[in-house]
């Protein structure tokens, strides 16, 4: 990967990330967050993780942030004017960021050698088991392209099938909970009337 592309998109990601917290206008903040996600997606793609990069745009920039924007516009939140900074949140945020940086340093310190995910031999090793069962993975590997989507699907549904179902159940419970809460609110209002 040409390094200057990395620096360009790292700059895009971090710059817009900074704008999210410094901008006065909530719409600017929301749009900056979306742009930051796009930069992040570009970084994923430059690591040969096409699927994750595209899903990053599809889910976060394309759907979640649009809903954010939708709500900001509907509630007509005006620009913040001279609000006092919340010191607790500031300290907590900084602490969290420092912890994250420490973890990144520890993980990257434990990482040696030139092995990357894009390395086809590694991929072949991962996909060997998958390739014998799924011919499309074997075909892609033989052609010398990395079938990242298929390998990820295989890993998710085969090795982590149980975990995936637990997460799915969690989401379902969350959805049902939201529907119940919103129904109860309207029911209470109708009873009040």
């Amino acid at each position: 990967m040409p390094s200057f592309i990395f620096y360009l998109f790292a700059l895009v990601t971090l710059g817009f990330g900074l704008l999210v917290v410094t901008a006065r206008n909530p719409v600017t903040s929301a749009l900056s967050l979306a742009s930051s996600f796009v930069g992040l997606a570009a970084l994923f793609i430059s690591l040969d993780a096409y699927f994750i990069g595209i899903i990053q745009i599809l889910v976060y920039a394309g759907a979640v942030m649009v809903l954010f924007l939708f709500i900001i516009m509907l509630m007509d939140i005006k620009a913040e004017e001279g609000k006092k900074t919340n010191n607790g949140a500031l300290v907590g945020g900084c602490l969290l960021a420092v912890l994250l940086v420490l973890q990144v340093i520890m993980v990257s310190g434990a990482f040696h050698g030139e092995r990357t995910v894009g390395d086809l031999d590694t991929a072949a090793a991962i996909g060997k088991a998958a390739g014998t069962e799924l011919p499309t993975i074997a075909n892609d590997l033989r052609e010398g392209s990395l079938p990242d989507t298929k390998l990820m699907g295989y890993a998710l549904f085969d090795r982590y099938g149980f975990h995936l179902q637990v997460v799915g159940l969690l989401l379902l419970v969350g959805t049902v909970g939201v529907v119940m809460l919103s129904k109860r609110d309207t029911a209470a209002k109708e009873a009040g009337n």
């Binding site: 040409p2 390094s3 200057f4 719409v27 749009l31 979306a34 796009v38 096409y50 699927f51 595209i54 899903i55 745009i57 599809l58 920039a61 394309g62 759907a63 649009v66 809903l67 924007l69 939708f70 516009m73 509907l74 799924l134 499309t136 892609d140 392209s145 990395l146 079938p147 990242d148 989507t149």
Partner: protein
Amino acid sequence: MELFLANLNLTFLIASVVKVIFLTFMVIMPMVAYSVYAERRVSAVIQDRVGPNRVGMPLTLLGFKKDLQIFGIGGLAQPLADGLKFILKEDFTPRHVNTFYYWLAPCLTIVPALLTAAVMPFGSELNLDVLGVAQPIKMVIADLNVGPLFIFAISSLGVYGIVIAGWASNSKYPFLGGVRSSAQMISYELSLGLSIVPVLMIFGELNLSKMSIYQDANGWLLLPLWGDGLSASRWILLIPVAISFLVFTISMFAETNRVPFDLPECETELVAGYHTEYSSMKFALFFLGEYAAMIVGSGLCVTLFLGGWSIPFAPLLSKLTGFQFHFEAGHTPLLTGLLHIGTFFAKVFAFIIFFIWVRWTLPRFRFDQLMKLGWLVFFELALANVFLTALLLWLVPLK
């Protein structure tokens, strides 16, 4: 930097630039312009009018008796005149708008619409031995392994343009248009995405070029009449494929804000919806964005269901005539490559005429009907279709 330059593949770079320029500026842009012309002429035919049939080469300016009508079809220079008119009109920015976002919005509409064309395989490959290029050049700008997802992801960014336009205009009709649009596009994105899952399951592939190649050899998904397409499983799988084609096409109408789902710019309720406050070229950019999205959507539909660039009955035709009509990796004659490009755009154009036909035939939905249709009918239908396909693929596996 030197290493970076050394790693650059010059042929690849030049080919990519040529492809980008060819596809965006020589195909999609003129196609947008002439879709507008087609829209006006077809609507005129449907409503028993004549439509714009006068504008030709203005030879009368040079003292000739009559204007020259290109190919004898009246009005073919109309898009040029329209474009000129858009550029020459006053570019007016109302005082009550948020200027930065007001200017940003048209760009955010047109850029994603044009970007999505990058993964569209608009031809098989061109064998440029004549020019001394050893490797045949693939007729797709970026041959990604996540083709359809890329198109969905980038086109989902297009909603920002409309929402921002509605919000930045700072007046009530555009705002309502923007709100409607974001609700509508998020809702129909779900059924759009789910509707192609059965197709992906059948192909076992996320690469649009490979899908086209498979359909070229084994029959289009909706027309399995040659190659492996004649197997029983492909014919049984026609049921889920037809359902997903239906859901996909209708959701695409909603995603591109076309009638019967053009609620964001519904004239009878919202003046012109999100672009009420826009004039001249900025308005034209919204227009361009809508039509470009329509062209890319048609292209995706053609690639997924109707064989992409493949010529119908290509392997059979090759056997009958002796000329190679089908694709063969590395051994496709130049003429066949060109024919494939022509076939692709012919199919896309037919699809656009279908879009136009629907627009001037059907009345508009109400907004609540639209949302209900999306969430209660298409979403469930697409979801059930995924399970149906899985069941059928398990019972009658493909070879």
